[in-house]
């Protein structure tokens, strides 16, 4: 049977062997957590505590600001020692709440556990999704409750969970699907009820047979179908996943809701399931620490706000002076220049490359080989987009669809001239968006 998939794309080496079978380890609580107020798309949360205050694990420490925002919760108990700009994975300092561990973990008494899905209405579930502080844990960190509030006239027919994990190296979602499937299924059922959707799908690449088998078992008898997908990048890209799972094509510039579908990462669903079961909001997540520069790779569950330095040390530190430190997967994760960066809701991994792995940044002119055109899942012409971006021809770039680029990186991966296409495209896109705001 031919596996479901999308057209074009690339096949980078998976490099998941070292961590795919490693059970999740729980990181010991850190001395300090740094919780950025802006670790999601939308308006940063606003603090509701002040410096010096004692907080308990799970306690709300910042409130959502407006509709496209979520609350933030203390991931450890202790004292708020600072609310100030701190290093963030984006490369700059952003406002964050810093909590010092008092060594005596206490869970907040505000928490309500054992929610019964049968007794909750769709509206109530949506509210709980927001109260749990849920955002897209696949990396985009978009406030989840907003996805379940479709514009008038639009119905959600299917909820699709993204278990593709198409980025090389990462195996955190894999282990979650193997070890935390009951929370995952509960979360999916909750999403389906909130969406008033009849059916749920979980898309999983076939390089995770144990996850597929486990989920099929957990979903038995429920209106949930587990879909094995071909191993290809970017299978986990939202629109490609929707196409592979349902055959539906989300129109250019539109959101998945246009095709009656909502997509969420499997970790987001599991976080909702855990919240309904225990009342604990989003205060921790699973990440994969790996790469040739890490001799003891692991899948670890860490409290949000733990600095990557602490996580790397737990895994035995660097093998040798690192070449490049990436937060996330190798195709889309930003490189870091310091280790006092906190793990956030959308962080999926820490990938350390050795110096030998880092290629020199020289690039040559485009030789028009067309490989980028062959792989782009959106059928764009990345070579032209890169050229227009490089020469500031933003009008031409826009005409050729640069704003439709999802920055998956397939074109840049395949380019024999090593052109930094995604970097050029990102720059041009931000210039275009900035001039739109002004005009």
């Amino acid at each position: 049977m031919r596996l479901r998939t999308f057209k074009k794309g690339i096949h980078p080496p998976g490099n998941k062997e070292r961590t795919a079978s490693l059970p999740i380890e729980v990181l010991p609580l850190p001395q300090q957590v740094v919780l950025p107020l802006g670790q999601h798309l939308g308006a940063p949360s606003e603090p509701v505590v002040s410096v010096g205050v004692q907080v308990l694990t799970g306690q709300k420490i910042a409130e959502a600001k407006g509709m496209v925002s979520v609350p933030l919760h203390a991931s450890i108990s202790g004292r708020v020692v600072a609310i100030e700009p701190r290093p963030h994975a984006c490369g700059q300092l952003t406002p964050a709440i810093v909590i010092e561990n008092d060594g005596n973990e206490r869970i907040s008494s505000e928490l309500v556990s054992n929610h019964n899905l049968d007794e909750l209405s769709a509206e109530q579930i949506k509210d709980l999704i927001k109260q749990a502080g849920l955002v897209g844990m696949g990396g985009a960190a978009f406030p989840t409750h907003v996805k379940y509030s479709p514009p008038p006239g639009k119905q959600i027919e299917y909820v699709i969970l993204n278990g593709a994990e198409c980025e090389p190296y990462l195996t955190c979602d894999h282990r979650l699907m193997v070890e935390r499937s009951s929370d995952l299924i509960l979360g999916l059922l909750a999403f389906m009820k909130a969406a008033k959707a009849q059916k749920g799908f979980i898309g999983v690449e076939v390089n995770k047979p144990d996850a597929i088998a486990n989920l099929k078992q957990a979903a038995a008898g429920l209106p949930i179908e587990v879909l094995p997908l071909q191993v290809k990048y970017p299978q986990g890209e939202e629109k490609m996943l929707i196409y592979a799972a349902t055959g539906r094509v989300v129109p250019v510039g539109a959101l998945p809701i246009e095709t009656g579908v909502v997509v969420n990462n499997v970790a987001t669903a599991a976080a909702l399931g855990e919240y309904l079961r225990t009342g604990l909001p989003l205060v921790s997540r699973i990440i994969t620490v790996t790469g040739q520069g890490i001799p003891n790779p692991k899948n670890v569950e860490v409290r949000l706000g733990t600095l990557i330095e602490d996580v790397i040390n737990y895994c035995g530190g660097f093998k040798e002076p690192p070449g490049r430190i990436i937060l996330g997967g190798p195709m889309t994760g930003p490189a870091q220049y310091r280790l006092d960066i906190p793990v956030m809701k959308g962080t999926s991994g820490i990938l350390v490359q050795t110096r030998a792995e880092v290629e020199k940044p020289d690039h040559a002119p485009c030789i028009r080989c067309g490989r980028c055109v062959d792989v782009c899942p959106y059928n764009l012409l990345p070579n032209y987009l890169g050229d227009y971006a490089e020469h500031d021809k933003l009008g031409e770039a826009e005409k050729y669809g640069i704003l439709d680029c999802r920055e998956c990186g397939s074109c840049t991966y395949i380019c024999p001239s090593r052109r930094p296409l995604i970097q050029l495209i990102k720059n041009a896109k931000s210039k275009i968006m900035a001039s739109r705001k002004k005009g």
Binding site: K239, C366, L381
Partner: protein
């Protein structure tokens, strides 16, 4: 804290292994069978022609880039490929100054003057050949038949030494066995005669995904259809002249051909049409060189006309 320096660059942080340099060297390897066929049919002198052409190409690139004060790019291997290709499409009888001047012209005025690799509008080897043909028409058409290759002509053998198979077709002389045409035991440019050798190289390039099958298939397919329409032998046309070499190694040059799949199909069809029109009605018996150069001109337009439909593109209503 981090005590050593790290690289902070934009994602993606991994790349597949094929570099421009490696592509060029794979093309050189794929042309080895053709080089061998040239030596077998026309003798060791062929190697001198190839060597002079390649050396001239490299030296010209170095000199021109130094004059233009631009960084040297000979390591990417494209000058070697141009020198080699040019040598393969000229008669095996030319004095060595011909490939040397031709290669220098191809590199300096066919490539570097436009900005180097990636910016040239025309296939540099073909530009070199066109220049040589225009400047030394008699030297560039002094053909020889390999030893013991005229058995098929019987008693007329002596009169045929000056022409190629296509030239003979114009005069109404036919009858060369297909096997001989396929193996390459005929007159022609030193690397273009053996369809077998060229197909071996082309297969290598297709398997390693260096060339897109669309262009050779549409080019050769169009030639065969046109031959039938014109009442001529399609197999004969396929196996003669510079068509095999042109379809697999010249018309597939990345820089001077479209990047879109449809654009490549149209490019091949256009080359096929022009090649046959020139062969039938043009001043020369062979049309491959000029038809590819003319289609190179059309490449930017073909790209613009064949922009693929984006994923999720909705046609504007009304």
């Amino acid at each position: 804290m981090l005590e050593t320096e790290v690289v902070v660059s934009a994602p993606p942080h991994i790349r597949q292994g094929l570099s421009t340099e490696r592509i060029m060297w794979l093309v050189v390897i794929s042309l080895i069978p053709a080089v061998l066929s040239g030596v077998i049919f026309f003798g060791w002198y062929v190697l001198a022609i190839i060597f002079s052409s390649v050396l001239s190409a490299i030296l010209t690139e170095v000199i021109v880039l130094k004059m233009m004060k631009r960084p040297l790019t000979i390591k990417d291997g494209s000058a070697v490929v141009t020198g080699l290709l040019l040598a393969l499409i000229i008669p095996p009888t030319v004095p060595l100054r011909i490939p040397m001047i031709g290669a220098a012209f191809a590199i300096a005025l066919g490539k570097q003057i436009f900005g180097g690799l990636g910016y040239n509008p025309f296939n540099p080897a073909l530009i070199g050949r066109a220049f040589l043909l225009a400047s030394w028409p008699s030297l560039m058409t002094k053909w020889v038949w390999p030893v013991n290759s005229l058995a098929w002509a019987g008693k007329n053998a002596d009169a045929l030494t000056g022409a190629t198979a296509l030239g003979l077709l114009r005069e109404g002389t036919t009858g060369i066995p297909y096997l001989q045409l396929f193996l390459g035991n005929i007159s022609g440019s030193l690397g273009e005669t053996s369809a077998l050798a060229l197909l071996l190289g082309a297969l290598f390039l297709v398997v390693y995904k260096i060339i897109d099958w669309r262009i050779p298939v549409s080019y050769l397919g169009t030639v065969m259809i046109m031959a039938l329409v014109m009442g001529q032998d399609p197999i004969f046309h396929l196996l003669t002249g510079g068509l095999m070499l042109g379809a697999f190694f010249m018309a597939t040059d990345y820089v001077t051909t479209p990047v879109t799949p449809k654009g490549r199909l149209f490019f091949g069809i256009g080359c096929g049409l022009l090649t046959m029109l020139i062969r039938r009605y043009g001043g020369f018996p062979e049309g491959v060189c000029y038809s590819i150069l003319l289609m190179n001109l059309a490449t930017p337009l073909l790209d613009r006309w064949t922009v693929p439909k984006r994923f999720g593109e909705v046609k504007a209503v009304g």
